[in-house]
Symmetry: C2
């Protein structure tokens, strides 16, 4: 089997290493050799820490289009230009394995349509939660279920920052700086800390779990750049841990969002720390399940890419998953408990909440007035906050 690898950065070199290191096992699974015949890279002559001798390295995409390959691995990133490349390859009957969540979150339905027309695979296990096997798990192992909820810690950078703030009591700025030094955050961390990366992944997970096309523009996301360390510590004392999560729910309608949420400390997601990712899936037969592991990394992500590669090279294409209908995303009816910190006196808060008949627990430890309410929808929350000065408000999960 001959393949091309498009992009020779962190994940691309990881793919080469995994194919080399585990060569014998992969050979026996595929029933033959997998040979990288072509690499597409911007910088052809760059020194890399993998051996690419005997491989044609090119910066001309036509060399890839003209190559005699069974499958292409796209790990170069980018959206519009990369879309055209993948589309061309699918149209040429080449299976495509991609880790590109930025592109897929915008265009997966178009690419899937092209793949299905050409009867080839389009696999993307590595695009969500890195090395954690979640795409094929939902598609093939939880498929006897109607899934009612999919929820994940989908971004290692923000989980690292929040863990540092929670466990070690660091400020947001110090934790971000540390994440940059450790290579978990990029120089411009916007996509991570503003929740955009997690948004792309929850769009893909919701689409797959609920069998609907999901327009990324319909899903609101809030990041962690405005999180105050005060709230993390106050909530920790009350037994809650903040995580930035993507959530999709399906009841009569679909809701989806990315936002910081406080989990009760004994919730499985609460103990997913530092750069790790995890996805929690609730199905109507299996109930609650969770999948935990590395959300990024060279070999870690390559583990998912190469498992996709083995799949596309050993299974006949039988139609990639493709929803027919568009999802209508409607978050107003979703009910959460809420953590609320007020700039009012205990008496004012108590009076207001009692007056509005809102079940709650009040805490005034450390001088701050904090309430954790019963479950409220968006309108009810607005009503609760009216006339009070809330300095912070976060949903709470797991406190029933």
């Amino acid at each position: 089997m001959k393949i091309a690898v498009l992009g020779m950065g962190t994940v691309g070199t990881g793919v080469v290493k995994v194919l080399n290191t585990n060569k014998e096992k992969i050979q026996s699974l595929i029933g033959g050799d997998v040979t990288i015949t072509h690499v597409f890279a911007k910088n052809v002559d760059k020194a890399r820490d993998v051996d690419l001798s005997d491989i044609e390295i090119t910066d001309d995409i036509n060399d890839i289009y003209n190559a005699d390959i069974d499958a292409a691995v796209e790990v170069m990133g980018g959206i519009d230009h990369t879309y055209e490349i993948i589309l061309q390859l699918l149209n040429k009957g080449v299976h495509v394995v991609t880790a590109n969540k930025d592109l897929l979150a915008e265009r997966i339905d178009d690419l899937t349509a092209a793949a299905n027309e050409n009867n080839v695979h389009l696999n993307y296990e590595a695009a969500v939660a890195g090395g954690v096997p979640i795409i094929r798990t939902i598609e093939n192992s939880l498929n006897a279920n109607q899934i009612s909820e999919v929820m994940g810690i989908l971004n290692g950078t923000t989980n690292y920052i929040l863990t540092k703030m929670t466990v070690d009591g660091w400020s947001y700025d110090d934790a971000l700086e540390d994440a940059k030094e450790k290579g978990y955050a990029e120089a411009d961390p916007t996509n991570d800390v503003e929740g955009i990366d997690a948004l792309r992944k929850i769009v893909l997970l919701s689409r797959l779990s609920f069998n609907k096309k999901v327009d990324i523009k319909d899903v609101p996301s809030t990041g962690i750049s405005n999180v105050d360390a005060t709230d993390i510590q106050l909530a920790k004392d009350l037994g809650y841990i903040m995580k930035l999560v993507g959530i999709g729910k399906y009841d009569d309608s679909i809701s989806a969002s990315v936002e910081p949420i406080f989990f009760k400390a004994d919730h499985q997601l609460a103990s997913v720390n530092y750069e790790k990712n995890a996805v929690y899936v609730n199905g109507n037969a299996v109930g609650e399940t969770m999948y935990y592991g590395p959300g990024a990394g060279s070999l870690e992500t390559a583990s998912a890419v190469v498992s996709d590669l083995i799949h596309v090279l050993t299974h006949p294409a039988r139609g990639n998953f493709q929803p027919d209908e568009e999802a209508v995303i409607e978050n107003k009816a979703v009910e959460y408990q809420y953590y609320l910190r007020f700039d009012d006196t205990e008496e004012e808060v108590k009076k207001a909440l009692v007056g509005k008949d809102i079940g709650h627990k009040l805490s005034t430890a450390s001088g701050a007035v904090v309430a954790v309410t019963e479950k409220l929808n968006e309108n009810q929350l607005e009503d609760v906050l009216e006339g009070l000065n809330a300095k912070a408000q976060y949903p709470v999960i797991g406190d029933e």
Copy 2:
């Protein structure tokens, strides 16, 4: 597609319910109806809480052999008799989905050989960790890895008991009684509490993870019936949580066992509580991953059975996983830290450990003398214990 269900107990009725409740989704995945045409049950006339009208219910296995079916679901349990039945079905070209770990742990290689000869599927996702998708995950999603370790909380009954002893401070007897009342433990709990059920599952996981035939007689198992609540509480104060785990490791050789182990509280397995199961897998590319969910239950287990059923009805058989070589199980070289509780004085213990140059932490809280050692293999441990009166000894994981 026509199927037979063999056994109409907890899991069998769950399978009927899942096929009914999620009928439309399953139809669309299979591209047609799945119809249960036959049920094999000892008691044909028994009242059941599922509708079996239009299904031929029989206590004569020949009716199943003579039926025109595509697949059979075996959820009746039993070993020798059930082996013959499954073998006959495979030889007749019928795909088999089974949840029967008791049988598989003894005979999976024989049954797989028969399935492969007849070019049919033998799937068993539900046999390990109930609803948690772990078999197909290891086989299809972690297959780019060499797996070095597979470790799991594989028995909900013992995990429930240990959780009650740890979290609520209960005695073993009280916790067992409670587990029986809640339906987590059987009247005769031997297979669960002595680690036999977990043993069967770690045999299946080790075989799959390390690509070797594993003889269940080669794998030692220790249960929890001799665990003293004292040790659970002493260790808890030191930050360790006891779990009964099946462990398989593959380095130069293979080691495997079932035993109670203390995990550092921040280990992912430490927070898997009550009747839940979880499997931790370490691969040379992906690193540490974990899979969490329900280890038993009617619909929960049926989730895995029906996903297998969808698989066998939609994928051509292409050879079930079948290792060639026998594993040589060798546990002597495995190194663990150890929790040791002594009936000696602090001075005696300290003197002995220092004299033998064994790194350790000593604790004398609550009057008990407890040491947590550096990593030791079996011989070194024996050497440490010589001349001292150890009342308890357990491996410790996660304290590096």
